[in-house]
């Protein structure tokens, strides 16, 4: 029962700070570009505004246009519930296994791709095909790099990996651990549509990946899509920071431990988001045909991490 409470708390906390994370990333970028920026709370205002708007749907579009945003949102919320962000506790009926998390991410990916195809516009289909190409390159690397971290622990349950790494500092700075975390960072950037793979603030339809698929959604459909993709960013970034810095998570429902866990998550996420946004200022989007090279590079790192963790234990 206490596990269910902890997981619900984790979902609420992560959902509440997700727009703030996006706001921090936009604000850091704006300040470095010499702008003032729209403020840290702008994503909250955007979502509130979108929820108040009429969800206009194109003639001839199907149920997918209504259902896909909800599927993406629910799959992202499930990932948030499973990934150890605030707590290492997990639901007894659903293991927070690496393979479960990756499959849930894929459900959201496929829903987005179908949404891009549904309205039958050229840019939607193009976005979907690129999205699936990137997903096909990203998922094996996510599996490989977390697998490398799971070998010394002897379990593919994410909570156990985080707990074991937190209990023993020497596990965090092994060559295998470092390689796996670097590989994970690259694929998380690709999966969440950040630079250098996709530009989240582009207006140029020909270069769009994520934006291209959601061009036909309006009002609350768009709000769910935005929130769903932001939650994926929180979940994946949270997983990376908690694997890299596995401290501060709560495993009991003591108020003090929970308070520390929530504060630690906020601090880790916002600092990591700020660093990513600052790094993005120095980066340009790579050409689409170079993206497989980048992702193959991160796959090689993950593969080396697996090899290293077998050899060096």
């Amino acid at each position: 029962m206490i596990d269910v409470f902890l997981v619900i708390l984790q979902v609420l906390v992560a959902t509440a700070i997700t727009p703030l994370l996006v706001g921090v990333m936009r604000q850091v970028r704006a300040r470095m570009e010499g702008r003032v920026g729209a403020g840290l709370l702008q994503p909250y205002r955007d979502v509130r505004k979108l929820l108040a708007k009429e969800p206009l749907r194109a003639d001839g579009s199907s149920i997918v246009l209504i259902a896909a945003p909800l599927v993406l949102l629910v799959s992202s919320l499930m990932v948030i519930a499973l990934v150890p962000l605030v707590t290492t506790a997990y639901l007894p009926s659903i293991p927070n296994d690496l393979f479960v998390v990756v499959s849930l991410l894929l459900i959201g990916t496929v829903a987005l791709a179908l949404l891009g195809l549904d309205a039958g516009t050229a840019f939607g289909g193009m976005g979907s095909s690129r999205h699936m190409m990137i997903a096909a390159l990203v998922e094996p690397t996510v599996l490989m790099s977390v697998y490398a971290l799971s070998i010394p622990v002897g379990s593919s349950t994410l909570s156990r990996i985080v707990l074991a790494r937190g209990a023993d500092v020497t596990r965090v700075v092994t060559p295998a651990g470092l390689l796996a975390v670097v590989a994970l960072v690259v694929v998380v950037l690709a999966e969440t549509g950040r630079l250098p793979v996709d530009n989240p603030s582009t207006h140029l339809e020909l270069t769009m990946i994520h934006e291209g698929m959601v061009l036909e959604s309006a009002g609350r459909d768009l709000a769910w899509l935005e929130l769903g993709s932001w939650l994926r960013l929180t979940a994946l970034l949270g997983l990376v920071v908690n694997l890299a810095l596995p401290w501060g998570l709560a495993d009991t429902a003591q108020p003090l431990a929970l308070l520390i866990a929530v504060a630690a998550l906020c601090a880790k996420l916002l600092v990591a988001g700020g660093l990513i946004a600052a790094a993005e200022v120095f980066m340009a989007k790579v050409r689409l045909f170079r993206v497989p090279e980048l992702l193959a590079g991160s796959f090689v790192l993950a593969f080396l991490a697996v090899t290293a963790s077998y050899l060096a234990g």
Binding site: M32, R35, V36, A38, K49, K53, H203, S217, G219
Partner: protein, 164 residues
């Protein structure tokens, strides 16, 4: 560019944006939807402009005037938009696209006619390719006069909608 050089440039130049002028007084005659307060997505529609207004619109969204600080953002699809920023006279070929763009924008929406051409055909009034001004084709909520209008005037019009 060398990242170190870029970092030095960022540190040296700091903020490009001009200090924010005081918010324009609210015009009660406009009847702007209150649900758009604080967050406005703008879709730009060029119905036959000479691109003078585009340059000023670009400047309004650029680093110096920085209308994004008041919560306005340019978007790539009318489905995402709350405000349609229409520039130029409406040429015969652009009547249908303009009507369709307005139809594709979810309610509540605001149409802003930017520049003298969009307001009353300006220089091009009576020319053979011109179907009329924007208000002849669709309902216009705000007009920004000028040929081309000053970026600050465009910023002030958008601030009427965002209320910030």
């Amino acid at each position: 560019m060398n990242p170190l050089r870029l970092l030095k440039l960022i540190a040296r130049n700091g903020r490009f944006a001009e200090p924010a002028p005081p918010a324009p007084p609210e015009d009660p005659a406009l009847h702007l939807p209150s649900s758009l307060r604080g967050s406005v997505q703008v879709r730009h529609v060029d119905t036959g402009s000479c691109n003078g207004c585009e340059i000023e619109l670009g400047a309004a969204f650029g680093g110096v005037y920085d209308v994004e600080r008041y919560g306005a953002r340019l978007v790539a699809s009318p489905r995402h938009a709350d405000v349609l920023a229409v520039t130029g006279v409406v040429t015969h070929n652009m009547v249908e696209p303009l009507l369709r763009t307005v139809e594709a924008t979810p309610q509540p929406r605001v149409v802003i006619a930017i520049g003298d051409c969009a307001r009353d055909c300006g220089l091009f009034a009576g020319a053979y390719g011109v179907a009329g001004s924007v208000s002849d084709i669709v309902d216009v909520d705000i007009t920004v006069p000028g040929c081309p209008p000053h970026p600050a005037a465009i910023v002030a019009a958008l601030r009427q909608v965002t209320g910030r």
